[in-house]
């Protein structure tokens, strides 16, 4: 009986042991997860070079003090405070904040939490001496970005710590709290290439959380794969030159290599020092930039939708030619304006009647208004809906009305109205060609980004096609993304482009763009002076050179600067000279902008911000015209209302 009892007990125990040791795998995994401590190794982020291989962005290491709440045991706060050079009260409140789920949304007792960011060398030295007594604490390396030039902030962007939303959206489950991700610019759009692949080091950890050494002789460790380097299409010298030209002005310069769609320069002004968004002060600097009245974070080159003004006229000429509304010799009358059924759109003095090429050269309003009038009212289309939709489709094929899909975040799509839009705005059957005639000269509802205008210039230079503009030319080991090699042909036969090119050449030689008539460069151009209900006219220039072998196509858009010929044309001419002839007149200014590696990086407030501020003061305009443009549609409606009113009042002759 007693013997039987112990036999039964031993049998039950053997069965239980068989179950937990052989049948059930759970305990193996649990033992492994007990003993393994996986430390993620962050790969070096890809560097960024310009089109000529000049290093623009590189990495440096920063050090954070992190702790894993679960592994922290009671510790000596006084010594810690001395090492961190903080007051005990400050440390206590920091410690409470970091250990509270409400104030630290990433709080998780098993993952490292950042306690102090960007430790200085004194803190690191002191911490290294004491940290072996602090279970659960460690100093963690992190990569920070360094910028060689005070330039191209809008293109380069920056990196920041991931937030809860990033982690939620991250379908690859790549990010964990404390990781960094690209925030703006190509840092954001090329994040998946730049970040590389994380590695891991697996360590053996004992019951008290102490690390004993490598696990399984490092056999399970994975080395990190460094991020890919990016070669921008940007010419950093041209970019800096462009930025220096725009200093004190508001607006944008976009330069594109027509054959490849490579963006050579993408200048927005005012801009900021990219180094401002690095390091401890990032949060403060970021909100300062965000709140600044002149919005330097707003990339006017791709985010601002402006009325394109007269730079729009070549598109109209192309449509009329393609549709057979006009031929090269068709002339329309323009006696200081377009006068039709009581409506007058004013124009300046030039010969009349006038044909296409001289109309482009002199930027005649009347010609293009008549052209659009005759096209929309042409019986062959069978009604306004069909003719207007056809017109809209031509515009879309030329890259207007939709995003061009440049490889930068936040691009605006501009605005090209369609038939339904006017039905809604004015009323079905209540509008005709005359009610919307100002769109023929790039006013009214039409909105375009400087990038779209530059892209039009590149399309004309290419005689009928464009390649999606892009700022990154090549990704190391990957090459150029396929979408940046495809030609997008417009719906216009390329022969008609030659007529427009001739007109634009004429404008430079003897028309509105004489200021860009650079000997030997064969510049073709078109000015724009955009009427602006909020203040002085915007000054615009669009052009390319040389005429028969275009190397560069540009758009210069300067807010509230007056006539296109006065400001934008000379700036465009400087860009041509600089890029095609390598002219360097104000090298001094550039030198000051370059950061020598190893030197203390140019610290924020001094250079750019002050300049931006003075620039703001020097501008007489207070109601910023681009502020409502941020949402193009809204602005479109706003501006249409004004132009609608003016159609019924101001322009009535």
């Amino acid at each position: 009986m007693i013997g039987g009892f112990i036999v039964v007990v031993v049998a039950i125990y053997l069965w239980k042991l068989f179950d937990i040791q052989i049948v059930n795998d759970k305990y193996q995994d649990l033992a492994v997860s007990n003993a393994r401590y996986t430390k993620i190794t962050i790969p070096a982020r890809g560097q960024i070079f310009d089109r000529n291989g000049k290093q623009v962005v590189y990495n440096e290491l920063a050090y954070d003090l992190v702790f894993v709440p679960k592994d922290v045991q009671e510790f000596d706060t006084a010594t810690m405070c001395v090492a961190l050079r903080t007051k005990p009260e400050a440390f206590d409140s920091l410690w409470k904040k970091k250990n509270n789920l409400e104030s630290n949304s990433f709080y998780n007792s098993t993952t490292p939490q950042i306690l102090v960011k960007d430790l200085d060398s004194i803190q690191i030295g002191r911490l290294n001496e004491i940290l072996s007594h602090y279970s659960g604490f460690e100093i963690r390396e992190r990569i920070i970005r360094r910028y060689k030039y005070v330039a191209a902030a809008n293109i380069l962007g920056d990196i920041r710590e991931v937030n809860a939303e990033d982690i939620e959206r991250d379908s690859d489950n790549y990010y964990i709290p404390g990781d960094y991700t690209g925030d703006l610019g190509i840092e954001k759009s090329y994040e998946s290439y730049l970040r590389g692949v994380k590695g891991k080091v697996i360590l053996k950890r004992d019951a008290t959380g102490r690390i004993i050494g490598p696990y399984n002789d490092k056999k399970d460790d994975v080395a990190p794969i460094p991020g890919k380097d990016l070669y921008m299409s940007i010419d950093i010298d041209l970019q800096r030159y462009g930025e220096s030209l725009m200093r004190g002005r508001r607006g944008a310069i976009v330069a594109i290599e027509p054959k490849t769609g490579e963006v050579l320069a993408l200048v927005t002004s005012p801009t900021y020092d990219p180094s401002l968004l690095v390091g401890k002060e990032r949060g403060k600097n970021y909100s300062d930039l965000l709140l600044r009245a002149d919005k330097p974070l707003f990339d006017r080159a791709i985010m601002a939708a402006y009325p394109p003004g007269s730079t729009f006229k070549p598109t109209q000429g192309l449509i009329f030619r393609q549709e057979g509304i006009i031929d090269n010799s068709t002339s329309y009358p323009c006696y200081r304006g377009y006068i039709n059924k009581g409506l007058k759109i004013a124009c300046h003095g030039h010969g009349s009647p006038i044909a296409l090429q001289p109309a482009i050269a002199t930027s005649c309003n009347g010609f293009f208004c008549w052209g659009l009038y005759y096209m929309l009212n042409n019986k062959k289309y069978g009604g306004l809906e069909k003719s207007f939709t056809l017109w809209k489709d031509y515009m879309v094929s030329m890259g207007y009305g939709y995003k061009l899909n440049i490889d930068l975040p936040g691009e605006s799509r501009g605005f090209i109205p369609n038939y339904q839009f006017y039905n809604k705005m004015i009323g079905k059957d209540k509008w005709g060609a005359n009610s919307i005639i100002s769109i023929a000269i790039g006013q009214g509802e039409i909105m375009a980004t400087p990038l779209q205008i530059a892209n039009l210039s590149a399309t004309i230079a290419n005689r009928g096609y464009y390649i999606t503009p892009h700022v990154v030319k090549k990704i190391t080991d990957v090459g150029t993304p396929k979408e940046f090699t495809e030609q997008h042909h417009t719906k216009i036969n390329s022969v008609y482009y030659n007529d427009i090119v001739a007109g634009m050449r004429m404008a430079v030689v003897g028309g509105t763009c004489r200021g860009a008539n650079l000997p030997g460069l064969d510049v073709c151009g078109k000015t724009g002076t955009v009427q602006n209900p909020h203040g002085r006219d915007h000054s615009v220039f669009m052009g390319f050179a040389p005429k028969d072998d275009p190397k560069i196509a540009i758009c210069v858009y300067v807010e509230n600067a007056g006539f296109g010929a006065q400001v934008a044309v000379p700036l465009g001419a400087r860009i041509f000279e600089r890029y095609l002839l390598g002219k360097t007149e104000d090298t001094e200014q550039e030198q000051s902008g370059q950061q020598q590696p190893g030197q203390e990086p140019v610290k924020n407030d001094s250079s750019t911000i002050t300049q931006g501020a003075t620039a703001l003061e020097s501008q007489p305009c207070d109601d910023s015209p681009w502020a409502p443009i941020k949402i193009p549609q809204e602005y479109a409606i706003l501006s249409t209302t004004t132009s609608f009113l003016s159609r019924n009042g101001l322009y009535k002759g």
């Binding site: 007693i2 007990v9 040791q21």
Partner: protein, 492 residues
Amino acid sequence: MAYTKDNNNNESNRLLAAVDWFTVFIYIVMVIAGALSIYAATTSSPDISMFDLDTYSGKQFMWIGLSFVIGFSLLLIDRRLYEAYAYPIYAIMIIILIVTAFVSPNIKGSHSWLKFGSFSIQPAEFAKTATALALAKLFSTYGFVLKGWRTYIVPVGIILLPVLCILLERETGSALVYFSLILVLYREGMNGFVLFALLCAVSYFVLVLKFAGTLLMGIPLGNFIVLTCVMVFIVLMLLVYCRSLILGRNVTIGYIAAALLAWGLSAMGVHINGYVFFFTVIPASIIYLLIGMFHDDLNKVLTTVIFAVVSIIFMFSVNIVFNHVLAPHQQNRINIALGIEEDLKGKGYNVNQSMIAIGSGGATGKGFMQGTQTKLNYVPEQHTDFIFCTIGEEQGFVGTSVVLILFLILILRIIAIAERQHTTFGRVYAYCLASILIFHLTINIGMVIGIVPVIGIPLPFFSYGGSSLWGFTILLFILLRIDAVRTEYGTW
């Protein structure tokens, strides 16, 4: 067996020949395996020698060496001395236990250690031998037979006295060990019904606590199961114990009829409270039995009725005892073992980590000195009470089953030795040893594999500690000495 008195020099040879060397062999295998496990459990680097006296394994080897000396010495002592001095030894041990309770320093909450300089011993480990000797002596007293409740007073007293002393030392685990000696009383004539009642008590306790959360017919499921068991036991006792076919049959028919009626009513939508049902049916059957017992074996039917009533009272007192008598840490340990509460970081940490250690060993283990749970100190008390984890992790199922089977063989061997004794003294003593080993094995291994609540008692021969090793060595070698003279039977 022929015995010749012609050569006295042969006496020691004869003695050695008569020692149960098989048991000695198992003993040696176990203590050496134990020391190796202690080495694996406590040494971080294989560079440190296992015989280094600064290590736990080195000290254990030293104690093993000394226990060989002790064991051999015990074999040389005349067996009659054990019997003759059984009571004085017991008395001295009790005094030492009481003294210990008052002079011992507080070590992890218990006052059970006597310190002699840097050396300390735990008298409770040696009191087992004294109690076994006293119990054996008592039963071998001429004319002593367990019959009638009065005859139980002295043996139960002998068992309870050290229990009280050890409780005074706050060593609950060691105190519980003595209750295993009830098995000896059973072997020596105690009614098996007592064991059955104890088994029922433990089962009720577990059932009531484990199934307190869910309700059935408006009462806790645990109580429902216990009350159903009571009904089944009443029927079984009537049939098997009272051998009354008629009473058994009638009660069964009554119960089934009542159950069907209740089922039918509840199917018709009448809500019946469980207590109302059970406390109508069971008292009704008891009244029937009280009337019917006069036609049958009066005592046995009365016993059945008393059993039923006591069972119900016990059931209702379980929660009171659990909540008001047991200390919080004891409640926690029971909750963990019953799976009522899972607190892997706090109260359940030890058992969880020990199960991870054993479970991760797989079939053949991670290899000697390769256990991560062991090496990285995840299991507390790994060299003492939780030494079985090291074997489980590093030697796998092969190791654990070999150890369990070694213990099984040892215990069965001891029972066999007990049964071949010609004296009551020898038999009772051997059963005492077997019972103590059964208790240690059941509780210690049950604890590390999460079946039994955590009770801090060592695994005999394996766990680190001189007192425990010597205590069991003395227990075993006194038996071997007593057993070695079986061939001399009839010569004195």
